[in-house]
Amino acid sequence: MVRFDQVGFAYPAPEGSRIGATPVLAGLSFTLEAGSFTWILGPSGVGKSTVLRLMHLALRPTAGQIEILGVPVAGARPETLPRLRRRIGVVFQDYRLLPYLTAFENVALPLRLAGRPEPEIAADVAELLRWVGLADRADALPPTLSGGEQQRIAFARAVVARPDLLVADEPTGNLDAVQARRLLALLAEMNRLGTTIVVATHSEELVDYMPAPALVLQGGQARLRGEEEADEQPA
């Protein structure tokens, strides 16, 4: 379960700047049930990425309480957070692939940080690379890959550890329609197996393709676009 309770967040002012902190979220409250699939919608700059960063513990709220996978983040001891982070998969908007590691090594990173045995890592990574259609690029370095290929590697890295919560920030932004549908199918399969999935996008087309509840961010707060609305979308 993911729960935001009156969450506020403001980016601190740059050092030496006369401009004050930049508020992005204010009084944001919502609850996402375990095993749910949720879209986060809204125009650019509204705070979608900030909400996702709060969810994967890259930021701490400046107000309110957040509970991730049943763990109240505010009261959690710092040493418990890395373990919680390992239960969260993240597809970053800018991919954040390490340029000096091969595609295989990038995808294997979460498993190695979790201390998984190498034979298991090799099998899981190979399977994921096949899933995202890049089995033949396992030894390629990210700078030699196209934007779409890098995005698929980033996606594979996010899901390879079978996280309990997957947050994805514009995960199909650089993909063609075929690849985008392929990744959405993978998301749907993970969701069917119990992973809670949150995807931020400004693509209504993507949402239309996969109907699910949607949180619409506006003015630092969220309103739920009703499930009944989602039900009306074509499958």
């Binding site: 513990l57 890259a58 890395p82 982070r85 390992r86 000096y100 090594e105």
Partner: protein, 277 residues
């Protein structure tokens, strides 16, 4: 190092390549300082005996009357004790100056111990010559005392240099750590976001830098050996003995450099990650 053990790409981080060379240079200096301290300590110890006494040399023909001469000198003001020097003891006293020379005829000597306080060597020499005609006050004890003081100061200076080199090593490691952190900021942030602990991140950086510092120090210590051996061979006649090098202290340089690098890097990384969420 394979990428599976180096997700931060520390091997490729340019600043890290400089560490072994810088630490090797500092270890070389540290090795020379250790050699200086060790050699100075040996010299100080060697001259300790010589500095403790003054001697009076008698003409060879006065040898049968050496006991009488010693009694007269003992009665002089400022002299606490005067006694004939045993020939074996005499050889020991002269060894810092002439080495092992068993065939060399040695003059009869009287060893003096002065009462506490300052003494004018010239005035004392005149009194001795007056009390025992032909006797000559040897001033090597005074010279030896001065040389011993010099050796002790060289030893202290060498230890100071050693401490400075250690501090420089910590400073270089600190700079290298910060440069590495700057070069790998994105990678560190990523693996932290993926669930690495602060200890994991700091451990990876610290282990890498400690390894490089240890290798550099090993190279520096190895380079120091021939230089110290050359110095030891020159100093052997003064210091006596076989001029053995301070191998145990030199062997400690690599682990000491690695430990300094490990602790410095760990503290630096943890300080950097202190404000991470």
């Amino acid at each position: 190092m394979s990428s599976r053990r180096d997700p931060l790409g520390l091997v490729r981080a340019l600043p890290a390549r400089l560490i072994p060379a810088l630490v090797a240079a500092m270890a070389l200096l540290a090795g020379l300082a250790i050699g200086g301290a060790s050699g100075a300590a040996a010299l100080a110890e060697r001259w300790r005996g010589a500095a403790a006494a003054l001697t009076v040399a008698l003409p060879p023909e006065a040898a049968p009357r050496i006991a009488d001469a010693a009694a007269r000198i003992a009665a002089l003001p400022g002299v606490a004790e005067a006694r004939p020097v045993d020939p074996a003891r005499l050889a020991e006293l002269l060894r810092p100056w002439i080495g092992e020379q068993p065939a060399l005829p040695l003059p009869p000597l009287i060893e003096l111990r002065l009462r506490p306080g300052g003494h004018d060597p010239e005035a004392l020499a005149a009194l001795v010559a007056q009390a025992v005609p032909g006797a000559e006050l040897e001033r090597q004890g005074i010279v030896a005392r001065n040389l011993r003081g010099l050796a002790v100061r060289i030893q202290a200076l060498s230890l100071l240099v050693l401490a400075l080199v250690g501090g420089m090593g910590a400073a270089v490691t600190l700079v290298a750590t910060r440069a590495t952190l700057a070069a790998r900021r994105e990678a560190i942030a990523l693996i932290y976001d993926l669930g690495a602990t602060r200890g994991d991140v700091s451990g990876r950086v610290a282990r890498r830098l400690a390894w490089q510092a240890g290798l550099g120090a090993l190279a520096g210590a190895v380079l120091a050996v021939p230089l110290l051996a050359a110095l030891a061979s020159v100093a052997a006649p003064l210091a006596g003995g076989d001029g053995a090098l301070p191998y145990p202290a030199l062997a400690l340089l690599p682990p000491a450099a690695a430990a300094i690098a490990y602790v410095t890097a760990t503290l630096s990384v943890r300080r950097t990650l202190r404000d991470a969420p």
